[in-house]
Symmetry: C2
Amino acid sequence: MLPAPLKRLIAALSRLPGVGEKTATRYAFHLMNQPEYVAGELAQALTSFREELHFCPRCHHLAELQPAPATGTISSSSDLSGLCDICKNPRRDSRRICVIESVQDLIALEKTGEWDGVYHVLHGSLSPMRGVGPDQLRCASLIARVDAGGVDEVILATNADVEGEATALYLRRLVGTKAAVSRIATGVPMGGELEYLDRGTLGRALRDRRS
Amino acid sequence: MLPAPLKRLIAALSRLPGVGEKTATRYAFHLMNQPEYVAGELAQALTSFREELHFCPRCHHLAELQPAPATGTISSSSDLSGLCDICKNPRRDSRRICVIESVQDLIALEKTGEWDGVYHVLHGSLSPMRGVGPDQLRCASLIARVDAGGVDEVILATNADVEGEATALYLRRLVGTKAAVSRIATGVPMGGELEYLDRGTLGRALRDRRS
């Protein structure tokens, strides 16, 4: 019914999360009816984004790969070129580390505007069910950061689900002797109505009440 | 907050219809966490689909561009190479033409499995408001097809909205003297409940009642 090049485009678009054949077909026809640069720029961004990105060697957040320095330049010992924007920023307090599961969590926290420390992205959570142990996460480098000194506080901001709690528990045991460790608060979300909250959240909010 | 290459990808994905920044970010992170070929194949499909497609010179449906024939080949007068799959198909009745507004409409009709004639895609509908006159549509080539003879029936299957009706009216006047012209039926959709139908549809269904 549809020519092969369009079928290939629809199949490739169907791999996006939550996109079925119907939505992919809509996207494909839209792209066909738009000026050529719309599809072209998307193709260009898709081709290059992976090569132009790497993970920050300190906190494992995403960072833009910088062009190699000119030959003859002597890189100083405080070379920041490989680090992400947050680790490079002198106004961020590098003595306080917020530990999170993913880059998406980092973005959510940055949007609050409440955190001026730095981060450590684990890239996952402990899950024996899915075969994810500490070696699959960036745990060792967190411990190395704390061991290297200069860290006062570690906030464990993993998810409030079973795996996130287990990860927090595990890290608290490893880091707790070397820095002050805290866990983000759980409780009633802002605007939440008690009537519709699950028992777990409500019970926890009651237990963790503040005076 | 996000490195520039990812921001560019999110901006390019945000141009898809109904996709805002949030969905685009979700798509971008998904592509980053997938094997490299997922983004690669999408980029490839986006780059090539336009070059590999053209419009069928007879019915203006999409057709895959065939590689040029080897030099020395004498193309016969019944050369079908530029035509779409439907016009090329000898089992389709080329004496009956169904006129539609868009390729998407063609796909919807093909999915019914009810039509074994051929099509004519207008690529739009008459709309003085949007400055679309007969010259912006593929009207002249429809009249040329009918004038060339061999056409018994023309079904006007433009949308049942004001512009589609106006287009059908216009074409009926031009083609009506040369072939049998009909309009697709309007009425209560299958599974439709009278209670929830608009007055226009219900009134029309009453007037067009069959004995």
